[in-house]
Subunit: 422 residues, 4 copies
């Protein structure tokens, strides 16, 4: 159980941390203010602020680019994008790097390490054909285009992925796509050029072999972005969350990734690590919130004391520190399991952190909001947006309750003789 | 301890409930959608939807108007607006009426029972001069104009109201007003014509006699609404929360309500009942959330069951029911104390419900969001806005912690011999 | 919704409160110390301290006797034991009386209002034959004998009462009883002379008509008290909790209360109000714990302050006050429902308080323990015993989870069109 | 951050685990039943069951003896008692060993690794004179005698150790000891032959140099064990918790360990690791409780299902698993900090786990109790005793709140410019 980051990881984490503090955090309110201004002025908010390109270039120039790319992949793209011409980072090594990025919603984008692009790139890297990799993976890795992942549907309880009802009907050498998806993150970005679309292709197969993943160019005929969704009032520009309608969209049958019926197999690989990354980032987000909580409540006076010294505030600070410490170790442990025994062996650990980390972050952020007074809920501080982001992770990639069910199932399986079922 | 509503209260509550269900709830998504549309289209969202006027007229025609006006006031306005030509409702009688309004953020406006106008009207009714009543109270009671209350300041911890630093300097027969206020609710409404502004007028007096409340026409020279604030991304149109700057604003000295140095005395009277009304409405809001939680999770299937039958969902529904039941009784009890022994005698009970009711509502709303999946956080359901509204009440009129400190102080006072201090 | 106690109730509650403070609370440590001494010295602890008889006589002399007896019964015993020659107290009227008794584990015994005797007396009063009333109810009401209720079985999950497997086999004009019961409260008292035993008499009937209740003289052949159980180390002398074995016990068939197969019908009537009484008493227990928490932590110094002024202690005191206030109103409301619409109409309210009140009390008691330091867990203060008592009520008469399931079921039934099942 | 146990640690943990399962757990109910029997029969319960000696010999024969002895000590006893003639285990290496012992209250005694003897042995090892080591440390390490630690006082809030008021007055070449102590664990054991007594020796020195630790033979004149205390009704035989009175006890001045005024310095060294050991053991205790919770609720049926499949039970099992996993990592991390940067550098981490681990264990144990029904609170299962043990650790060695204050203080110190004070 060795969670020590390698020297390379430490160096990267230090440099990412410095970059986020020195470059991204000062830029964030500027970008946020511009969005507020555009919205107030009736201008299109779905544009990319010039600072984004500037920061992306700067990060890339420092070698802080595509760090999410995991070790162990073969092929041209895996090799080409290793930071030192070699393998990527292990999960344990990526953890402190992702934590450093997690302080700011916008930071991961600067390092080309943001969802959903990371997951989509991993899908293409692992399961994509050479053509798909050439056409889509290469520009994604290069940061020239963005992507979205079209899975969740408004009409069904998507926590049970087998519920998904969109269709991908093979018709000769094309596949016809129909369905409405939402919470398609990244769809708002003007550079979003490609979707990965999950749909029923083999309705007669068993529950876990009915669905396919299909690559869909964003400008295909029949694709409509019906609206951008807000979560707790946050639109999360410039990536955003789209509601996308596909009506009779036709793409070549080769666009089915790895062939029909393999969506669940791919999703398992895609989402598992994905939300581990979310958990890593949530640690950074919670640390940011705790820092703001302390500095704000130390700087303000009420009833003759610093706010931090009133009532139970210091105890709450201590409990927040404890919660973050435990969660960080928990996430590192899951990362270490992923590294040492793989996704299947780490099933319980990954489900554990998915169920536990967002709630931890929410508690700390909520404390920070309370210690900021009304301002904490406003756009003057990153806390309301942080709350919305962490809250959405209690639902995205499956609600808490689904992960708890997994943990319980695996725990009970240890007592096979007496326990079972469900 | 008799919480039985009078027949008049029951009748009013039934009719308000029916009005909210039949008229307001169907109108709400229409109005919300229009705001979303206007914002997306770059049009001014700070307009009043025609449905508002329509619904206000309808409510008034049914006698569901100014029901907040309490019993016990004398003078022309108290008499004139009693629903049966007589006294207003007691707090216990108002509770079910306010609960019925609380289901929807927009409903209270339709009945001329929304904050901050109710509080401002009460101030003018109790402490205003005949001129002030004629000029401002009459049109407010008539629903022709709106008002805002300018208390909280961005630069200080306003949880300690003695911190407030805005100034009201008497200069001959005028008073000069300077300061920046925020979370001035109601300031976004196009009909908002008058502010009540709290500021230091007597800097050398003791802590609780330093401040005054001043009536300020919204179009006075030197008044700037710098921006409208969002709470968790909600702007709460058409009332909204403004950041207002007063710079060298001059109004006649008679505009100081009840004379200089009486702000705390007035505020005590104003905010006490105000937040009791909030608590009453929160019960209705929580009931609405629980209803949505049940209907949604009963209608959707996952993993072969109705969502409501999965895991601990039914237990959570039960706990929500329990929490609402307890909170309703708690609020009724505080209302009954207010009615029977007055604001001073009900200090502990009012502080108790202020500290406890918002947290209850947040728990129920959060459960409803979780059972809705991603949609729960979106603008498709009233839940994210409800969350933002309830969350803001853990801060507005003083944070939870201030109310807990009051409860503790009063509890310890029962043991005067051994406990004391602080 | 009128929770105002009648003048008679107020007077009784005042006098019970005074009696508990002046007579029972000083006696309690003496009696407890004697039990500790007897146990340490190897003497039989299952004796009745002379103070018990003394206090019982004093309470009875003051008319504070059998106050639990509800209104609405007919027959000689109901009339005879009314405190003013008339009807008993309503549930709302009994609530403050029971609360006053609840401060001390031993107090209810002094007023002949302790479980399980109250429940057993109610069963005999409502369902007993004239002979049973003459033989058992009369001396019970007179306080000359004690009783036990034999329901829970060690071998099955007794939370599902239909699981109970003890048998009552009619054989001519006798009925043969076999089975092992535990948590048979009251069985340790030397004056315990009669059991009510629940067993399967009609194995072929439907689930709710399979069981009977049978009156069993304690000295019947085949009855063995195998041991006295402790809960969290508390034996709760002199009543205690027995494990009782019945092996081939024969009693006349007339001992089946109200005839075979009616156990569930009787139990419903018996346990419902029973645990309402528990809830009423828990309010008093929590008040006692809060009082000790405040007086102790106000009297001790640490780190230069009174303990109560350290960290979050005052906030916790405030939260305890809020929790108790809410719980008291909740219990009163259930009592009022029982009074106004009967046990069937109050099903939800009764289940709510059963699920919620013990947890509230545990929280307050635990806080008091923490503020007492190590002493709080010892026999020097009534807190460890109070904890054990309140904890056992999360299981006795059905675990919390069963009551939550009831609340959920009734809540969902309001939405019959969409929700149902389970 | 490497928490990997060494092969030696793994081997020891495996063997301790097997020994606990195969030898101690079957013996535990036998020993407990004998205590129950002796108490019921009025026999002295403060005897050592023959199984203890048997198991101690067996454990020692297997080399599972004194494993608590840390690395890094010099002198005859450190070397002599290393398990392979060499250094002791690091904290990280001891963690899984202690966890394995933690499943059972009695297990540590069998391995000579129980409190308070371990702490006392460490004090003598680190600070004791050669004579003290010869006379007391040697037989303690050998398991021939037991010891107690006399610190907490009934008359003051001992959470603030500077409150302690017992005196150690030097009078020529003797020191006179006076004072009353309680919760002196180990004092009930018939082989308890020596106390370490903490008292004010230098009343005029500063707060942290006022106290000394003194070695006191148990049979010194003036020593009285006034009584044995119970915690939640548990006496924890055969070690127990004594209330000890010292009145004019005289011992040679050389008995002051390391010279006058050094008690705080020694205590810091003693208690820090001590409660880390408690935390390690609590992980094992919680695992035991979770195991019982699952096996019991899988084996029992209610309402047509296995109990474990009802309501939110599976979610609670999952949450317990998550809580244990996080706590284990948290404890390992503190152990690793102790190993790598020492007690001073690990101050925050140690305070964190002290504040967090007992609460985690209590939650899991409480769940297990609930899933056992009434039996869970009885002496038939180890759960009530486990609850009492874990609850006492929220107070022993300082209450939670003191540790939270430490964590907050250290957290705020990171922001020295803005935060400070208290």
């Amino acid at each position: 159980m060795d969670f020590t980051p390698s020297p390379r990881s430490q160096d990267l984490a230090d440099r990412v941390r410095a970059f986020v503090r020195d470059r991204v955090e000062p830029a964030e309110p500027v970008m946020r203010a511009e969005v507020v201004r555009r919205r107030a002025a009736g201008e299109d908010p779905w544009v990319v602020h010039p600072l984004v390109g500037e920061l992306k270039s700067a990060a890339r120039a420092e070698g802080l680019w595509n760090l999410f790319l995991p070790a162990g992949h073969e092929g041209p793209y895996a090799v080409q994008f290793g930071t030192d011409g070699g393998a990527g980072l292990s999960n344990v090594d990526y953890a402190p790097v992702a934590e450093a990025m997690g302080r700011s919603y916008l930071a991961p984008l600067m390092f080309n390490c943001n969802t959903p692009d990371t997951g989509n790139m991993e899908v293409l890297l692992r399961y994509g054909s050479a053509d798909q990799q050439k056409q889509w993976l290469e520009p994604l890795l290069d940061g020239r285009i963005r992507s979205a992942f079209l899975m969740t549907e408004p009409a069904v309880a998507s926590s049970d992925a087998t519920n998904m009802a969109a269709t991908a009907t093979v018709d000769g050498d094309t596949v016809v796509l129909d369905g409405r998806k939402w919470w398609s993150s990244g769809a708002g970005h003007p550079d979003c050029k490609v979707f990965i679309f999950m749909a029923v292709s083999n309705p007669d197969a068993d529950r876990h072999h009915r669905h396919s993943m299909v690559v869909v160019p964003r400008d295909s005929k029949g694709v409509t972005i019906e609206r951008m969704l807000s979560a707790f009032g946050q639109f999360d520009e410039p990536l955003g969350h789209g509601q996308v309608h596909l009506e009779g969209v036709r793409v070549p049958v080769q666009n089915i990734i790895a062939g029909p019926g393999r969506a669940f197999e791919i999703a398992q690989g895609r989402l598992g690590p994905g939300r581990v990354h979310h958990c890593m980032r949530l640690i950074g987000l919670a640390e940011m919130a705790l820092e703001l909580a302390i500095t704000r409540s130390s700087a303000r006076q009420a009833f003759g004391s610093r706010v931090i010294d009133l009532g139970g505030n210091r105890e709450r600070i201590a409990r927040a520190r404890i919660a973050i410490s435990q969660a960080r170790l928990h996430v590192l442990h899951a990362a270490w399991k992923l590294d040492t025994v793989g996704a299947r062996g780490a099933l319980c650990e990954v489900a554990e952190i998915k169920a536990a980390t967002p709630a931890m972050a929410l508690e700390v952020i909520d404390l920070a909001i309370q210690l900021h007074g009304g301002g904490g809920m406003s756009e003057d501080h990153p806390l309301a947006a942080a709350y919305a982001g962490a809250r959405s992770l209690r639902l995205a990639d499956g609600p808490d309750e689904v992960h708890l069910a997994t943990v319980a199932k695996l725990e009970l399986a240890k007592y096979a003789a007496t326990a079972g079922g469900r």
